[in-house]
Symmetry: C2
Subunit: 119 residues, 2 copies
DNA sequence: TCCATCGTACGACGGTGGTCATATGACGAT
DNA sequence: ATCGTCATATGACCACCGTCGTACGATGGA
């Protein structure tokens, strides 16, 4: 039994059918949260909370993860002391086809443009 | 010279390349503004400000139209005493492919669902 | 010319949400 | 058992934003 995924449920996740467009858009409109989503989307696998490149305090980070979770954008589960994050792609795609992809893509595109302008 | 489109420019419209994802998402995250966008998207032609079904005061409406205009989502022009509104589809599609469609579609879908739940 | 209509400008108010500091709790490693 | 790490909870602060009322400006019709 070494280093395993804890089964304990986090209570906060909304059911797929309870994900609202309003919630998703509010969540994703924040730059820090959008950056988080982008990082998960571009990562090969799930990411621990601590591994994100964010510009705010840990406590503020916790706040943003909670908003993302409660809006139904991410799913979280414990793995030992760290907490893993994954996108709820299927649920989102079913509820709002094309939305997540469009936003992530736009976000990537803008990040690239910003990087270009910076040099 | 009867009932014509005034040529006067409204100064506020951002250039296409200055439309930011942040601005668009902030703008569209508000339910009143999203409703406005939806109404334009589903209308056969451009819509005058006064013809919208909105739940707020005229002055608040003006505020929302300004946000939409300055974010680059809509273009406005005068036609006599009323002000016409149109989506900047091309500019938006070029900047953020699929985004507008996904949001409008999701918005429609949700409106339908809400109407269903209401009866 | 006068009035009605449509939209804007400005100021005020209230709520919400992003931020941080600090303290607390859970888990793993030593 | 103890410590360090990871994340949360709580409370406070502040800025921003959605809202409204009122006053104003512009246009078109009677």
């Amino acid at each position: 039994m070494t280093a395993r995924t804890t089964v304990e449920r986090i209570t906060d996740h909304p059911d797929a059918q309870d994900i609202t467009l309003q919630g998703v858009l509010e969540a994703i409109a924040d730059p820090v949260r959008r950056s988080i989503v982008r990082q998960i989307a571009n990562a090969p696998g799930d990411m621990a909370c601590g591994t994100f490149d964010i510009s705010v305090t840990r406590s503020t980070g916790t706040h943003h993860f909670r908003v993302l979770r409660q809006s139904g954008i991410i799913r979280q589960y414990y793995a030992g002391t760290s907490k893993m994050n994954m996108l709820r792609r299927d649920d989102l795609d079913r509820a709002f086809p094309g939305l997540l992809d469009a936003i992530v893509e736009a976000s990537d595109r803008e990040a690239v443009r910003a990087a270009g302008a910076r040099r």
